[in-house]
């Protein structure tokens, strides 16, 4: 949320108002204050350290070991990483995951359009629409996935029933290698839409009306207003959402796990090689074939990937994100 807040603040700061600069810096009274602050964040910090940081370190260590079927592990050095580099299955999962991340970004323009529509001054029942869009976000992913699995059923699903009205014979969406990935991306976008809309709506509402009035006086039409005023001032929100969306896609697991079919059905799903994600593969190796060391290596590689992608995004933001 930090970025959005900043975006909103940036929008406000642009309103002609007494600038907060000029005043002398406050004296350094922070010792006691900081003490309280640390005390207050200690529970969260401790939780993070125990349940996030420590497992990450441990997983890092395990990625250099090989596990026995009943615990016990021995140091194997870089063996897991060597196997990883040569594993076609990992490569395919990586390609799939990157495709998920890339296509998942299509949800952003869609969310902006919906947010802009919801932001129209005379629209009635905004909160109802907002709630409707937000429902998928607060629904359990597994439940969402189950319902979509039924909708997508090639023989008895609602999607194909609808298509048949227009004389189109729909495919087996999640079992056909040609359509499975796109069918899943659509669900991911749909599931994340509500959250993104709310973020963008907050961003839009923080843009002062005066800007639009000024633009209008300068002769800008609605399109020019959107391009020259809305988009630049919304860019912090866009950046925030795109970072979260990419990280979320790279970690995709539950939707695929449930929708691809559970247990045996997933293993004989002909589309599986095209939709297996990196985290899905990790789960498979860690809990199905019990190759925990190798599984650890897979997630460490994913961790590096996420860090790299996020760093790239932060680097690129300088070119297009305006903080007012």
């Amino acid at each position: 949320m930090v970025m959005t807040e900043e975006g909103i603040a940036a929008g406000r700061a642009a309103v002609p108002a007494p600038a907060p600069g000029g005043r002398a810096r406050r004296p350094r009274r922070w010792t006691a204050e900081a003490g309280w602050a640390y005390l207050l964040i200690a529970p969260t910090g401790l939780g993070l350290a125990v349940f996030y940081l420590w497992p990450v370190l441990q997983t890092g260590y395990f990625s250099f070991t090989e596990w026995g079927p009943f615990g016990g592990h021995e140091w194997v050095g870089l063996d897991n990483y060597r196997a990883l580099a040569a594993d076609a299955e990992v490569r395919q999962a990586l390609v799939n995951t990157l495709l998920f991340a890339l296509l998942g970004l299509l949800g952003i323009p869609l969310a902006i359009v919906f947010a802009a529509l919801l932001n129209r001054p005379k629209l009635r029942g905004v909160s109802v629409y907002r709630a409707l869009f937000f429902i998928p976000v607060v629904t359990m992913p597994v439940a969402v996935a189950m319902v979509w699995r039924w909708l997508y059923n090639g023989d008895f699903g609602l999607v194909n029933q609808l298509l048949s009205v227009f004389g189109v014979e729909g495919p087996h969406w999640i079992a056909d290698p040609a359509t499975a990935l796109y069918a899943l991306v659509a669900v991911c976008i749909w599931a994340g839409l509500g959250y993104n809309i709310v973020v963008f709506l907050a961003g839009l509402q923080a843009i002062p009306r005066e800007f639009y009035e000024a633009a209008e006086i300068d002769g800008a039409g609605p399109v020019a207003q959107f391009r020259r005023v809305t988009l630049p001032l919304l860019s912090p929100s866009i950046f925030f959402v795109s970072v979260l969306s990419v990280i979320g896609s790279l970690q995709l697991f539950d939707l695929v796990y449930v929708m691809a079919g559970s247990g045996q059905a997933a293993r004989s799903n002909p589309a599986m090689p095209r939709i297996q994600t990196v985290v899905g593969l990790f789960y498979d190796k860690a809990f199905y074939t019990n190759d925990r060391g190798y599984a650890a290596a897979i997630v460490m590689a994913l961790l590096v990937l996420i860090v790299v992608f996020t760093a790239i995004q932060f680097r690129l933001q300088k070119r297009w994100v305006h903080y007012g």
Binding site: P55, Q58, D155, S268
Partner: protein, 421 residues
């Protein structure tokens, strides 16, 4: 990834907890078979919990000092949880074991060899089907006493057979009879098929592989049988059915499981086990419409037999009492209790109770099958090559690669995995 790491952390935390708990209660092991003890007994089938509790109570009646606590872990988590418990030193004293896992547990010293105790108690292992005794024998020693067994047969929809004017399948029918019937029972335009060629070993392709005279794994468990031409014929049986549109394709079966298609009258036949009696007996549609027949005969007659066994943890604090309980579970009186409410009991001569309890179907088919049954193929790390079976066979069943090529690739991969065992 966080989710995954968190799961990992939870497992680890559970393991740590298990170690601590185990450490707290480390009193000296007691030797006597009748000294006071509480045994934990881990099972995975919710439906069998009542009859397991009944057995536990019957045991306590004879051994008042020993109580048994039945612990249910659903199938989906059973093996994961058991591994964590074993790793943490908190394995249950007695637990259910299956074929694919027994060698892994025996080889790693997790379960106790029972050979000496069987000899000491002068138990006759001949009262159990030989295939099951073999399944639980590792390096010449028996590791578990068989509890129940299951075999595979053809469940068929009488109504659909009659409508198509096809004679009901019966003992002595052959692959040719099956194929002729399949042709008449299919109408792909209407979504009507003869059978669902599911990629499942136990109920499907393992059976036809042995019927074709092939094998999944060599008798010594060291070599894959998938490059044997006879084995490939056993697989072709299924890929041909899909090719001829007498079975739905994998895409359809991914979306809707064959058992659901069978229960909605879309499939005329369903290859299934003796365990399906409960499912088909309770389902409104199948209750009155289906019955069981033996599997068709190929080059020879074969069905896969599998069954569970009760095993004792190698680390139990009460080895004598645990053995006493397992011995009771393997006895005739215990088998008689089991048959009335559970699966087919393994003890020869106690199966009538099961037949009587499931009289609406021709259950005898599954009992007769024991005489020509083949043990479920396993090795030390069965799960590893089971995974490979799915990967390679999926390509053959979709027609992406010819079945010979997929089978040979599978043999190569499986042999590599077997060499590592």
């Amino acid at each position: 990834m966080w989710k995954a790491v968190r799961t990992g952390a939870a497992v680890m935390a559970a393991a740590v907890l298990a170690v601590t708990v185990a450490g707290c209660g480390a009193d000296e092991p007691t030797a006597g078979a009748d000294e006071k003890a509480t045994l934990s007994y881990a099972v995975w089938d919710k439906n069998q919990v009542p009859v397991m509790e009944e057995l536990a109570a019957a045991f306590t009646e004879d051994h008042p000092n020993i109580t048994v606590e039945v612990q249910l872990t659903p199938w989906a988590d059973y093996w994961t949880k058991l591994r964590a418990a074993v790793t943490g030193g908190a394995a249950p004293d007695v637990f259910w074991m299956n074929g694919p896992n027994v060698q892994l547990y025996a080889d790693n010293g997790v379960i106790m060899p029972l050979a000496d105790k069987v000899a000491e108690a002068k138990l006759d292992l001949g009262v159990y089907p030989k295939a099951l005794v073999d399944l639980y024998t590792f390096e010449g020693k028996i590791y578990g006493l068989p509890k129940d067994f299951d075999t595979v047969g053809v469940w068929f929809n009488k109504e659909l057979f009659d409508a198509a004017g096809v004679k009901h399948p019966a003992a002595g029918w052959t692959w040719d009879d099956f194929k002729a019937a399949a042709a008449k029972l299919s109408n792909p335009a209407k979504g009507q098929y003869a059978v669902g060629a599911n990629i499942a070993g136990q109920e499907y392709f393992y059976n036809t592989i042995y019927q074709a005279g092939g094998n999944v794994i060599s008798a010594d468990g060291k070599k894959s049988g998938y490059d044997d031409p006879a084995t490939i014929e056993g697989l072709r049986f299924w890929t041909d059915l899909i090719k001829n549109k007498q079975s739905p394709d994998l895409k359809t079966m991914t979306d809707t499981h064959p058992i659901q298609l069978f229960e909605s009258g879309k499939l005329a036949m369903y290859w299934g086990g003796s365990w399906n009696v409960t499912e088909f007996g309770n389902n409104e549609y199948t209750k009155t419409r289906v019955d069981a027949a033996p599997l068709p005969t190929g080059v020879k007659q074969a069905t896969i037999i599998h069954g569970l066994a009760n095993v004792v943890s190698a680390k139990t604090k009460y080895p004598a009492q645990a053995w006493e309980f397992v011995k009771f579970l393997g006895s005739k009186p215990a088998a008689e209790i089991l048959g009335k409410k559970g699966p087919i009991p393994a003890y020869t001569g106690t199966q009538d109770a099961w037949l009587a309890a499931n009289a609406k179907f021709n259950g005898k088919v599954f009992l007769d099958a024991v005489s020509y049954a083949v043990p479920y193929p396993v090795s030390r790390n069965t799960a590893a090559w089971n995974d490979e079976e799915f990967k390679q066979l999926t390509k053959a069943y979709t027609g992406e690669v010819p079945v010979e090529q997929a089978a040979k690739e599978l043999a190569t991969q499986m042999n590599a995995l077997l060499a590592k065992e």
